[in-house]
Symmetry: C2
Subunit: 462 residues, 2 copies
């Protein structure tokens, strides 16, 4: 019976005594004179399978030569394991070497390679325990997100990546072109003639699907996007990458309070699903990556998230007996040190609402005070800002004023503003960076280590 | 009780007699002197709800003024409908106008707008019956795909969009840059100095995730990608767009026969899931978009897909009593007319395998004859090629020969070739264009009508 290792573990009780066939890789190989042990894994699950063989096998001496990293087909009998910490092991009946792995394989068992080194072999690192686990959790978390929204009646919308709309500011977007850089067409003023490009004008790959998402919220009520986004930021920090994935739901007939309800429910759903589906991976992260991870995640599930205004946050920060690097201000954004303090103060995730309008985006709803907007940031203990959202400005005239005020190119978002004219309604949405969530879920600190092939300034190999 | 319309229909039996609150849009409004009918929908489901009101309501005269397209909050009592074709309707108790919709709304009920016109108002067209249905089916089909792979132990991998690797040929890829076109840095030879760009070299947005997917198949055994891809093709046909979504699974220890098993099982799973989840949408398409659609889809579920070589297909075509526009040839690709003939000949989906190597991609496994490769195209009745895949060349030396032969830039795919050196194994994968699947599922003929905001040459509005 040909099985994935994952299936074998699921059915381990009933398979004891059965012959099974598995295909995967040699993770470790300890040889004695008359027998040997192979740690086997096929990447479908966390836990290796111990495979035991002895010199009664015909090709015993060939098997003894099999190297770490080789791919193999094995047939054997499932038996109860005498070893602690594992219920079963496999008594080998036959082994076929599918693909050899020479000694210059960069992932030898000796020594623990640094994460920096592993980034340089991004095509091989998913074979390590750590990255095998990170990328299985990435997959499971992605599915949890789809599952949450689909089961709650949302429509998944694939908003375009190529765009001419100016949501976050075109200076933060990559330009795309089919033109030859060394032979650019020029107009009569000597400027590059973008009308000769494939789309007849300058186009970009986008940093958000929000504007297009809103159009669909006005037809399908509850929608979400989940796809790659791009930023040209030239910063080399642990939390920035030039390509990352975002989840951007938009909900019609939803105000800022309804939005916070959704964010809290969704986040708990995802965390619970990952805990239920990946217990071995989370245990591993808890032990070797972030001590206390499991408690942190369980604590989130039990918390009732705090809801507080930006003004109230600043009050608390000002009263705190702390020497701040950045002085808290009613007019300003809050710094990382403030985020940290406030989540520790409440020992809970915290929604901060009603931000000064000058530091927030042009599409956020202006509150009745005329000074703040109905934006909401979710701060979580140990990770800072995880989700940013807002009620959207649904009043056409107020929106046009804001566009003027913030210097947005009106012509590119004309269609978007017109959504307010034809059966518009109060509505809200948020954006969650998928990698930020993964950093929170795995304890892995650097965004480069939760993206299969990360793109950062100067780094676009593979 | 605040409900989505979808929930109301699911619980319609138990809700008869109950008061419910709904929020959505006016799809039609027929007024009589003393009463009126509103067709209401919130986009969460296909079927409108009939809302009946009369002049006993306080704001009767205001309600009578409510225009098509307006957004409303309604409260009413669910009653059994006397009208055929609907089980329930709503007796209105109160209505609040959330957002007005003036007379210049482009989607008036009079006349049926053409699909060409609707493309020009891509931000509003999801409000029509047709596009509301198409984009719900798109969402459900996407979820079916995730569901199939996740439930079968696959890991979802987000391969990078930004790349320097040359899989399909860099002339078919969009270049991306942060440089200023009107002020490009030059090297000492006067050429544009791409080392000054964000990634330090020319980078692209990719047309495939396959190469990166293979790296993960060598660690996680069974993986899939599902994300946007880009092609610069300047063709204005019904089936080409410059941005579209692809599903690209890669499976280790899987040969071409195993691959066909997976493709067949996956496709039947998706079709069945969509039929079960969107019966009203499919009924609508069957009636108004493609007569016979439902039969076509049910027939696929019952078919055992034919498996045949390219050579055998050419034999059949040559024997056929048809005057071909393109003469069938053992050395060439098959034309649309051939695809059509062969699926009608078998009255079933057909896998065509073992293609002449010169017309297929460099990474496909060369068969023992040295002349053909283990590629497989799936042709389906009424739609032509739906999936293209192959067993991959796992032999390092043969692969290097092919790279030479086909003129691929070796330096950009070096890491990929090295996967064969370190525990490589026989493996296979395929690519399915998501929009091609949607065209098949909905009967909608033009790719522009299954993409929320389509990008085609000269068209990048919104």
């Amino acid at each position: 019976m040909l099985l994935d290792l994952k299936e074998l573990y699921i059915k381990e009780d009933e398979l004891i005594g059965s012959e099974v066939k598995l295909q995967g890789w040699v993770k470790n190989h300890r040889k004695q004179k008359e027998f040997g042990f192979i740690d086997f894994n096929d990447g479908t699950t966390f836990k290796n399978l111990q495979v035991v063989y002895d010199n009664s096998l015909e090709n015993f001496s060939d098997i003894q030569k099999i190297k770490l990293g080789s791919s193999v087909t094995i047939v054997g009998t499932v038996i109860e394991s005498p070893k602690e910490g594992q219920k079963i092991e496999l008594t080998l009946k036959s082994l076929v070497l599918e693909g050899d792995c020479p000694d210059d394989y960069p992932l030898q068992s000796k020594g623990r390679p640094t994460r920096e080194f592993l980034r340089e072999i991004a095509h091989l690192r998913p074979r390590t325990n750590l990255f095998s686990a990170v990328f299985r959790v990435r997959s499971v978390a992605a599915y949890a997100i789809h599952k949450y929204f689909q089961e709650h009646g949302y429509v998944y919308v694939n908003t375009p990546l190529i765009t001419t709309a100016d949501c976050e500011g075109s200076d933060q977007m990559f330009k795309i072109t089919t033109l030859d850089f060394n032979n650019l067409p020029k107009d009569k003023d000597g400027k590059v003639d973008m009308s000769k490009d494939l789309f007849g004008k300058q186009s970009y790959v986008t940093g958000t699907g929000q504007l297009h998402g809103e159009a669909f919220a006005m037809s399908h009520k509850k929608i979400y996007t989940f796809g790659p986004t791009f930023r040209t930021e030239k910063s080399n920090t642990k939390t920035h990458a030039n390509e990352f994935w975002m989840i951007e739901p938009e909900i019609a007939f939803c105000d800022i309070n309804g939005l916070m309800d959704i964010e809290e429910e969704m986040l708990k759903f995802i965390v619970k699903y990952v805990l239920d589906t990946c217990p071995n991976e989370i245990e591993f992260f808890d032990k070797f990556v972030e001590k206390g991870l499991l408690d942190k995640l369980n604590h989130l599930l039990e918390s009732e998230f705090v809801r507080i205004t930006h003004r109230e946050v600043i009050d608390i920060l000002k009263k705190a007996d702390v020497k701040w690097e950045f002085e808290p201000s009613y007019e300003d954004d809050i710094a990382k040190e403030h985020e940290k303090y406030i989540t520790e103060y409440f020992n809970s995730p915290v929604f901060i609402i009603d931000w000064p309008k000058d530091i927030k985006a042009w599409y956020m709803k202006v509150n009745k005070d005329g000074k703040t907007v109905a934006g909401v940031d979710l701060e979580v203990p140990g990770a800072g800002e995880l989700i940013g959202g807002s009620q959207r400005e649904e009043n056409y005239d107020v929106l046009m004023n804001r566009i003027e005020e913030m210097g947005v190119d009106k012509t590119t978002v004309d269609w978007f503003c017109n959504l307010r004219k034809f059966g518009g309604c109060y509505h809200s949405g948020f954006g969650m960076g998928f990698e930020r969530l993964l950093i929170y879920l795995t304890g892995v600190e650097n965004i480069r280590d939760v993206i299969p092939f990360p793109r950062t300034p100067g780094n676009c190999d593979f």
